[in-house]
């Protein structure tokens, strides 16, 4: 089975994030594999271990993304592809990404493509479904369980806390939700083996794309941090009075009731 994982290198949102001139500061930011993509890598490895085949991890980015690809290889993926856009592209959006991936998959046979549900940085959740559309594949988002039997996939997906069961057929693109699995830590032997695994580097030119073909359709006007959290309020007094006060505050101050 040809298993592909779409992986994004992103900054760790649990670390401090600084914004300067409408851009997120690179310096000091910690970079990680997008956590939802980690579920995808883990699931891909499990599917391969059960059904055989190969896991290829693909990312679009610059040279620094090699570290995240190596980590996926250390977890157990078989090979990795870095589509390096550093020299060719200034800006990109979901359209750019999908267009590049569409070209990448043009001459590859994919039985299943796994991606994260969203990337924790911009959280658009668009790349997976849009790519499936372009590749004319079935697509199931926010999956929490998948079993494959021949060409049939039985999937459970998270629907706002409820579970929806879906049966579909391969080839298939899924996006992975928390709860699907518990991603493994890359083991030391895995890290050492990853050194020798193939990591191919492509540029958009290699995919017969020109800069104009992938020009973004959207423009980011501004990026800003959410307002800082204000100090909380502790209510005092008798329980009944506290409840009354809380309800009244939720109505008048917080305006959520």
């Amino acid at each position: 089975m040809n298993i592909f994982v779409l992986l994004k290198r992103t900054f760790d949102t649990e670390e401090k994030i600084a914004i300067n001139n409408g851009r997120i500061e690179d310096d000091g930011a910690e970079y990680i594999i997008n956590p939802y993509d980690e579920y995808a890598v883990e699931e891909a490895i499990n599917i391969r271990d059960e059904h055989g085949g190969e896991v290829t991890v693909v990312t679009i980015g610059d040279e620094d993304a090699e570290k995240q690809l190596r980590t996926a290889l250390a977890m157990g993926a078989d090979q990795a592809v870095l589509i390096n856009t550093e020299d060719d592209l200034e800006e990109g959006d979901q359209f750019t990404t999908v267009k590049i991936l569409e070209a990448f998959f043009d001459d590859r046979e994919a039985d299943i493509i796994l991606a994260g549900n969203v990337a924790i940085d911009e959280a658009s959740g668009q790349v997976g479904p849009r790519l499936a559309e372009r590749l004319n594949m079935s697509c199931v988002t926010t999956i929490t369980s998948i079993t494959i039997d021949g060409d049939t996939a039985n999937i459970e997906r998270d629907v706002e806390g409820d579970v929806e069961k879906v049966e579909t057929s391969l080839p298939l693109l899924v996006t992975c939700q928390q709860g699907l699995n518990e991603p493994r830590y890359p083991s030391l032997p895995g890290i050492m083996k990853a050194k020798k695994k193939p990591l191919e580097e492509l540029e958009i030119d290699d995919l017969d794309l020109e800069e104009d073909d992938v020009e973004p359709k959207t423009k980011t006007i501004e990026i800003f941090l959410p307002p800082e959290k204000q100090a909380g309020k502790v209510l005092e007094g008798e329980m009944d009075d506290q409840v009354k006060e809380l309800v009244s505050l939720l109505k008048t101050e917080a305006k959520v009731l």
């Binding site: 570290k67 190596r70 830590y185 890359p186 083991s187 030391l188 032997p189 890290i191 050492m192």
Partner: protein
């Protein structure tokens, strides 16, 4: 000159950091309070290959280097001194001497399971009357036919209750000048006559297992002698050279944790209408801590690098161990001071850092012994 870590070293550091944060950190307070050895955590560390980092793949290891190993010890020490100490001792004292000095058969039988993480090993050197002066060893080994018979007592042996084998030093004869010949023997656990108990109530590193071993007519096959029978003393000095790097790395972890906590707290804690990190008295403490942590780390990595290059690292590992352990003690002490009354409370963990750090100025050669090692290297 290149201060950059390799990709493998970076990845290992990140992996151990994640593992330590997710798996060990939530247990650290209980491990200390209940003095419970986290055996299950060691099983998981074994599966990740952490117990075999500096050993080659042919013996079940990961084929990493000393730098990678030091980074791993630091990251574990950063969340839990107890786990860090048992980890450092398992690799540097338990497994390493078998790797350095063992025969092929001994490596297959005793090292491979350790490197694969299927068990731990201990190093039995210290005795009630032979601490820094290991030449004063009183445990005796006598060759009787095909077996050595060992009698004696060992103190403060890390991990012994959980060890699958213990390397024990013993006097095996006398040289012509009348001085004792000390040899090392691999004693498998459950060998009749070897009694291991853990009667100690410790100040710090309370979750690390520390045992007393009594050896009464313990018979081991004569093939279990480790390395050159005449050079047991030299061998354990070499083992301790390597062990110092890992203790120093553990100290850097505790010092870094002290700095992290102190800095975080100083930015949050408000007195006189502003965060206490605005006050120079606090700033100077934090600046000193940050500088010393970085200097200590550099020395640890340099001595690990020297070891990896096959160069002499005796003096540098003593520098690292001495400076890093004293840095850990100073940093944790200042972290408590910056926390004020809260720092004296267990919940805030910095008092544990101080109790754990104190051991590092004593174990595997006191600070005074490190100064002696350095002075000797200077030609004194």
């Amino acid at each position: 000159m290149n201060f950059e870590l390799t990709k493998e070293q970076e990845m290992t550091r990140k992996m151990v950091q994640d593992f330590a944060r997710d798996v060990i950190q939530p247990r650290a307070i209980d491990i200390d309070r209940n003095a419970e050895f986290p055996e299950d955590i060691f099983k998981e560390m074994g599966k990740l290959g952490l117990l075999g980092i500096p050993f080659p793949e042919e013996y079940g290891g990961s084929g990493g280097d000393t730098v990678t190993y030091a980074l791993a010890v630091e990251e574990i020490g950063r969340v839990c001194g107890s786990t860090g100490l048992s980890y450092a001792a398992a690799v540097s004292l338990g497994a390493s001497p078998i790797y350095y000095f063992g025969t092929e058969e001994q490596k297959q039988e005793f090292l491979t399971p350790l490197a694969k993480g299927e068990g731990l090993a201990s190093f039995g050197l210290t005795e009630p009357n032979a601490g820094s002066d290991a030449g004063g060893t009183q445990t005796r080994a006598v060759l009787q036919g095909d077996h050595y018979v060992i009698n004696g007592e060992k103190s403060w042996i890390t991990n012994a209750e959980y060890a699958r084998s213990i390397t024990v030093t013993a006097v095996s004869g006398k040289r012509e000048d009348g001085r004792n010949i000390i040899s090392a023997f691999i004693v498998p656990k459950d060998t009749p006559g070897m009694k291991i108990t853990s009667p100690y109530e410790k100040m710090g590193v309370r979750g690390s297992n520390t045992s007393e071993i009594i050896l009464e007519d313990v018979k081991v096959p004569k093939e279990n002698i480790l390395g050159d029978p005449q050079k047991g003393f030299k061998q354990f000095l070499h083992t301790l050279d390597g062990g110092r790097i890992s203790i120093a790395a553990l100290a850097v972890g505790i010092a870094q944790a002290s700095l992290d906590r102190a800095l975080e707290y100083a930015k949050e804690r408000k007195q006189f209408g502003q965060p206490i990190s605005n006050f120079q008295a606090i700033q100077f403490k934090l600046a000193d801590m940050a500088m010393e942590v970085e200097l200590a780390r550099n020395m640890v990595l340099k001595s690990a690098w020297l070891k990896d290059q096959g160069k002499n690292f005796t003096k540098e590992s003593a520098y690292a161990k001495l400076f890093a352990s004293e840095t850990a003690f100073r940093s944790s002490n200042q972290a408590i001071q910056i926390h004020g009354g809260y720092g004296y409370m267990r919940e805030y963990e910095v008092e544990r850092f101080l109790r754990d750090a104190k051991l590092l100025e004593i174990g595997e050669g006191t600070s005074e012994i490190q100064r002696m090692v350095i002075a000797r290297q200077l030609g004194c």
